[in-house]
């Protein structure tokens, strides 16, 4: 079994969460934090199995919550749900089109934003919310959506470099070979 892809996805999730805690340019410009993790989860959903998807969403969500004031587990639940939904409608998705990737990334980010907020409110926590929250949800989703095709582009290239590619099929078939001369 080739472990390159699972390792690549987990390392990408780790770096994505770390980048979210270090880069504050989007927050300074738009008063919004843009998440990269949903884009990685979309990649895991479309390029690997259900097990890898669940692992990425669960571990990535826990990493995200560990660096945040969120209770542990808040981010993992919406990410798993988003991933499972994508796997469920797998056959209907045009996975290689940037537009489809944008929509899936935006959808996963919106799910992460609003479902997490719903969970927080249901466990009687008091996050900072107001009218600005709608703006944050919309911009955060669109921002993640815009980054998703880029994530696919980069990870696909790294994946291609790390894994064995299938040998190109030749038109030559031994049983169809015309033997010349006397046998």
């Amino acid at each position: 079994m080739n472990f390159a892809r699972p390792i690549l996805i987990l390392v990408a999730a780790l770096l994505a969460v770390f980048a979210e805690t270090q880069l504050n340019l989007p927050e300074r410009l738009l008063a919004v934090r843009i998440h990269l993790l949903p884009a990685i989860v979309v990649f895991a959903a479309l390029r690997s199995g259900l097990g890898m998807l669940t692992l990425t969403a669960a571990i990535g969500g826990l990493w995200l919550d560990s660096l945040s004031a969120n209770p542990l587990g808040v981010s993992a639940i919406p990410l798993i749900l988003a991933g499972v939904l994508m796997r469920h409608f797998d056959s209907m998705l045009l996975r290689d089109l940037p537009y489809a990737q944008f929509m899936l990334g935006a959808g996963a980010a919106a799910m992460l934003f609003f479902v997490s907020l719903g969970i927080l409110l249901s466990v009687h926590l008091e996050p900072v919310i107001g009218w600005a929250t709608l703006w944050q949800g919309a911009v955060s989703s669109l921002g993640t959506g815009a980054l998703t095709p880029l994530v696919f582009f980069v990870l696909d290239r790294i994946d291609r470099a790390l894994t064995y590619q299938p040998a190109p099929e030749s038109s030559f078939r031994q049983d169809r070979e015309i033997k010349r001369g006397r046998t």
């Binding site: 780790l14 805690t21 300074r28 919004v32 934090r33 669940t54 669960a58 990493w63 542990l72 969970i119």
Partner: protein, 268 residues
Amino acid sequence: MSRRTQYIAIAAVIALMLVLLKLPGDVSSRLKLAVSSVFLPLFGLTGSANRLTDATGNALLPKSEVLAQNEKLREEVNGLRVATQQTAEVFRENERLRQLVGWQRQLPWKTRAARVMSRDPANWWRSVQIDLGTSQSMRPNLAVISTDGLVGKISSCGDNRSIVLLLGDPTLRVSALIQETRDHGIIMAGSSGSPGSEFIDLGFLSRSSQLKAGQAVITSGDGGVFPKGIVVGRVVDSRTVGYGLSIEARVKLAADLGKLEQVWVILE
């Protein structure tokens, strides 16, 4: 593995997340620090990279620029020396008067510098992690300041890092007063609902308060967490709330919480 088994496994993972969600606060924060320790090498790498960038920048700085900066800093130091002499005299006078009246002595703050390691990735909380922990005598509820004013307080500590709740986080309330009028109030999260906002609310002010834009807001020292006299910000405007029972003022924070790189923890 069949699809049904896979869905059962996913349901088990979601159930586990729900259990984690309901863990007691103390266990949850310890678990969080354990989970986030996976990022320590990356934090170390970022710190080293920052130091290297600074060192390279310093090495590349032209000598004329260094000399100009040196001259400017020398002037600033001289100015501060004069100001310190004046302050020391006022401090001594204050001590004598306190002794005469029989008030308790006010001790100067003992601080420790810390570097901001990371910011909260969620859109609805205001917190940062700093590179000091229990090994460096940190503990929850210590006040954290910047050169401009109050920043927040430590909420939980690991061995070598702590989480600092910033002003404007809904779970952080600070007793404060208007410096000119001595009206007391409580600092709360801003009503804008944006964690990146530089404004917070000073609520529960008496309805007879004479508020004006530009008045300074400082900590009152009530509650024992924040020492008295730390600058919080300045009043921008005010409105009557609670059917005219009290006044709420919008306060512009003195410290820019979005640009924090170094902070000081008040130990005593």
